[in-house]
Each structure stands twice: as C-alpha cells, then as structure tokens.
Amino acid sequence: MLQSFLQNILNALQWGSFYSLIALGYCLVYGVLLLINFAHGDIFMVGAYIAFYCCMFLLGKFGVFAGLPGWMVLAVAVPLTMVLTAVVGVTLERIAYRPLRRKGVNRLYVVITALMCGLILENGNLALLGASRKSFPTLVPIKVFEIFGVTVTNIKLMVIGVAILSFLLLHFIVTRTKIGMAMRAISYDRFAVPLMGIPADTVIVFTFVLGSGFAGLAGLFFAMTYPVIDPYMGALIGWKAFIAAVVGGIGSIAGAFAGGFLLGFVEIMVVAFFPSTYRDLIAFSILLLILSIRPTGLFGVARRTKI
C-alpha cells in the first residue's frame, strides 16, 4: 500500500513535470501579450517531431554519416530541438499574431487565430507526414532501479530534474531581470512601453523564443518517455497544461509550475485509487473549486482597478 503510494507519487512527479513544462511556455507568452497561445500545445507536438528527426539524423539513420552514441545525441538534440522549435514559434508570432496586434484588434481574435494555427500545425503535419505514428528512438537505454519496492527509471529522474531547472531559470528571468520587468510591463500597457526606450517587438520575440524553446524541450523529453508520437499528441495535454497554468495563477511562473504538478498529482492519484473514469470528473471539480475560492488562482494577483 505505502509502496504503491510512493510509487504513484513518483509517477505523478513525472506526469506533472510535463504539464509544468508546457504550462511554463503558456505562462510566458500569456504574461506578456495576455494572449492565450492555444497553438502552444501543438508547438510542443512540433517540438517532439523536430526532436524525432534531429535524433534520427544524429543517429545516422538517414545515412548521412556514421551516427553518434545515444547520450551524445541527446546532448546535441536538446539545444538543437529548442532552437528549431523556437524558430517555429517565432514564425507563428511573426506571420499570424503580430499583424493582428498591429491592427490593435480585440485580443480574443488573436486567441482564435492561435487556435486555428494549432489546427493547421496538427493537420498539416498529418497531411504531410502521413497518418502513421512515429516511434521515438531510445537514446539512453532505460535503467530500472528498485529502492525498497519503488521502481525508478533514469528517464523519470531526468524529466523531473529538467522541469525543476527550467522553472528556476525562467522564474529568475521574469522576476529579477530588466527584460523580465519589460515583459510584465508590456502585458499591462503595450502603448507606454516604447516610451521607456524598450523595443517592444524584440521583447515579444524573445518571449516566444523562450516559450517555444521550452515547449520543444518538453516535446523531446515527452517523446523519450512516451515513445509513440502522433500529430494530435499536443492537443489534449496542451489544453490541460493551460488549465493548470491558469489554476496556478496565469502570468505567474511559479503558479504555472505549481499548477502543472497539482494537476499531475490529482490525475495520477485519482486513477490509482478510483476507477480511472473519475479522473477528469474529480480533477476538474477540484480545479473549479480552487478557482471559485481563489478567483485569481493559487499565485495570481488580482488586477485591482483603481477608481
């Protein structure tokens, strides 16, 4: 009993890590543009595919060169994936979001555009790469340790570590640095930002680089953990991660991080101790409760309008 409880805590940590990683990206972009970037889940998916092709290439599967050992591939794939995914994210912002921003339209129209871009990524991928799924290569052979009845794998540990590090990094950037302040300022009043000598668009691009980059990272590790990748893999987890981000208090990095793990825990624990069909029911009831009690999420600050 206790063992399986501990085991499930571990499972929850792993599952929550992914929610957190994705939620962080949501949170960054939202924190700047108040834009719910619904394409984020699919950028995560694209990240996984990019990671897939990077690894295939580095493993020499395309016969270009001999190929590297697994761990080295991983070492190279991480930055490569992050950069390439970032490029995708920035492209979206350039061709789809920025023009709308320039026109000064209601932000919900940008949100809808984001949704559409998400669909395009999903189905575009489906149409181009074909329907059949891809199996992600095993870079580091799974090692299963057994510590008094609780089984841990190297992958699990790696994932959890990555999530925590990413959080610390982003939290530092947003709260401590000037560019972090600039990000938050943009979210409050984009008009006044240039008057501080801040090139708003640069800051925004920077945000998308960060956000998408970490989506890519998430994609890579997700594919390593659940090595069957398909074009729709990002849709559901994306939505849930977004929900987690909001429950944590959207716009607050710490919130997103906590929210992600919270959701992960609830889901795993419910499945472990109730019929799995109760998962969404219980999980979302809890979230709904939290939001009705703390209308701005766990870490969010109410935007007090002074009259």
């Binding site: 129209y109 555009t113 189905n123 429950v247 069909t277 998962r279 979302f284 709904l288 009259i307």
Partner: protein, 359 residues
C-alpha cells in the same frame, strides 16, 4: 405592414422546406446539412451573448449542449419507445408528436440549470479564469455522462431515431426538420428581444466597464446570471435537436473541439453581432460540407495538370488544414469578423424599415 415582412418571408421559407422535403426534392443528406446549420445558428447566437456581448471567454458551450442532448434524448426514449435501457415506453409512441417540444424544453431547462455551474462563479471570477471554469464545467458534464454506464457511458446512447419514426407514423411530416426550423427562429427571436432591451444592454455595459455598471445601479450579478442561463438554455435546446437529428449521442462529441467550433463562428461573425453569428454559422456549415467533396475534384484536377505525382493524393486530411487557413486569412483581412460589432441593419440601412430593433 412592412413590419410583417420578416415573418412572411420566414413562413414562405418554411413552406418551401416542407414541400422540398416532402417531395424528396431535398434528399435526407441535404436535409441533415440544413438541420445542422440550424443547430449551429442556435449555438453561435447563444454563445454570442456571453463571448460577444458580455466579452467573457466561455470555452464550454459544448458542455451545456451535451446536457440538453442527453436529457432530452433520455426523456424522449424513455417516454415514447421501448429500449434496452428503459424497457417499455412510459407514455407510448402516439404521444410523441405532441409532447416532443416539451422534451426539448426540458433539455433546455436542464442545461440552463447546469449553467449555474459557471454563472455563479462568474460573479467573482472574470476573464481567463472564468474561461477555465467554463472548460472545467464542460469537462465535468462530459465525464459525468461517461460515468453513467446505464446510458452507455463513453460509448454513447441511441434510440432517438425510433422516436422520430414513431412521430412520422402518427403524422407523416419531416418532424425533426420542422422542429429545428422552429427552434432556430425561436432562439434568434428570443435573443434579439433580450439584448435590445435596456435590461439586456446591461450585458454590454458589464463588458465595457463592469465597475461603472455596478456603480450606475446595474445589478451585475443578476444580469450575468440571466445572461448565462439564457445562453446555456439555448445551447441545451440546440443539443436536444442535434441529438434527435443524429439519432445517437456520444459524450465524445461534446469536447473542447466542438466548443471551439462554436467560438470560431461567433468571432468569425463579429463579437456582439447577432446577424454576424447567424451568417457565420451558415457559412461555416456550408464550407465544411462543401470541402467534404471538393477534394475529390481538386485531386483529379491536380493529377490532371500533374502538379503532384499520381501516387500522392490530396485527402480529406487537408480539409482541416484549409478551413483554419481560410479563417486565419480572414482574420487578417477582417480583424473584427464579418460584421464587426454592427448588425445587418447598420450595414444596409434600407433594411431598417422592414424590422425595428428598439421599443
């Protein structure tokens, strides 16, 4: 006199539909397309109250649709036909024709009650947090249904088509078509009267400046409550019709994707524009149906001019690339939707004399 033009037109349209359906000039397939169009109109216009007029961001409309769908389906199956789930009918097929509208209304009421699930939090919670509450509510509804094994759980529930045929046996008319038509007209009419009253304008006031509204004597809580319940109720109505058109309901239908589909119609039409939502609903339905076949032709054409190798086929998959693409482009060129905040009457003032808005 001219005030009556619109009712007159509607009456004609109604007649034509009946005739076409009766003579089979309009085959079952196209009938169903039209009916889905109607359902979409109800959904879009009702969501428009929340996402358009109130400026909130509700992503859970499908959830309320689901409530309506299930409640009315269960009722009509239980009341009018024998089924594995409920066994013998409680009232019997003969009554179906007369009681069917009540079944639909029951569904609507149930939905608007579930609407409280978001209406009440909305007093305190706003914006994107409320958006999440709506999503959560939708999920809760969906997963509640999935957990009731007796009615098929996640595997869906069927038997409504038997009710439909029962109605036809009593009086041979395309009943479902009739009710969809009536329901659509009714909803639009209801919504219009609501949002053009001083009472309903409170909704826009909340959207533009809630604090001012509250301090200028608008009982924001009450207005929100009413708005949500009306909106959700109509969604329920739409759900009921939807279920009876399809003859089968499945919680899997009422996912976020369904909600987004409705949202897209609202924003495509223009936030807060009733006629916009109607137009958008019609366009979207047609577009999707058209693209269903378009690819066949496209394929042969592309092969013919051999831009793509015969081995490669442009399949249905592209449909869901093309549709969002079109929408994205449209957003770029018409960044506030087809109608913006305006109504048909603002675009063609000529129309004004045919129907008055205020008073």
């Amino acid at each position: 006199m001219q005030r009556l033009t619109v009712p007159a037109l509607l009456a004609c349209l109604f007649g034509v539909l009946l005739w076409a359906a009766g003579t089979g000039a309009l085959n079952v397939y196209w009938q169903s397309v039209l009916m889905f169009m109607g359902v979409n109109i109800i959904l879009a216009t009702s969501l428009n109250i929340i996402n358009g007029n109130m400026g909130e961001f509700s992503c859970g409309h499908a959830g309320f649709m689901a409530v309506g769908a299930y409640v009315s389906s269960l009722l009509s199956v239980a009341l009018f036909t024998k089924s594995q789930v409920f066994g013998e009918p409680l009232i019997g097929p003969a009554a179906a024709v007369w009681l069917f509208p009540l079944v639909l209304i029951a569904g609507a009421l149930a939905a608007s009650l579930v609407g409280l699930l978001v209406a009440i939090p909305s007093f305190k919670t706003r914006g994107d947090y409320l958006a999440i509450i709506t999503i959560a509510a939708a999920y809760i509804v969906k997963s509640t249904i999935e957990n009731i094994g007796a009615i098929g759980g996640a595997r869906g529930f069927m038997g409504m088509s038997a009710v439909m045929s029962a109605m036809n046996e009593t009086i041979n008319l395309p009943w479902i078509l009739i009710w969809v038509f009536v329901g659509t007209v009714f909803s639009v009419w209801l919504i219009r009267r609501f949002i053009y009253s001083t009472f309903g304008k409170g909704v826009d006031a909340i959207c533009q400046d809630e604090i001012a509204a509250e301090i200028m004597s608008v009982n924001t809580d009450r207005v929100k409550l009413v708005a949500f319940m009306v909106s959700c109720g109509l969604a329920g109505l739409a759900g009921g019709l939807f279920a009876h058109i399809l003859g089968y309901v499945n919680p899997g239908t009422f996912t976020i994707l369904k909600s987004t589909e409705i949202m897209v119609m609202v924003y495509l039409g223009g936030m807060g524009s009733l006629s916009g939502s109607v137009l958008a609903a019609i366009l979207m339905t047609l577009l999707i149906e058209y693209l269903r076949d378009a690819f066949g032709f496209l394929n042969t054409f592309l092969h013919y001019i051999s831009v793509i190798p015969d081995s490669y086929e442009v399949t249905q998959v592209w449909k869901w690339v093309v549709i969002p693409l079109l929408l994205v482009l449209l957003m770029q060129f018409r960044p506030e939707g087809i109608m913006g905040r305006r109504e048909l009457a603002d675009v063609f003032p000529g129309l004004r004399k045919f129907y008055k808005f205020k008073g």
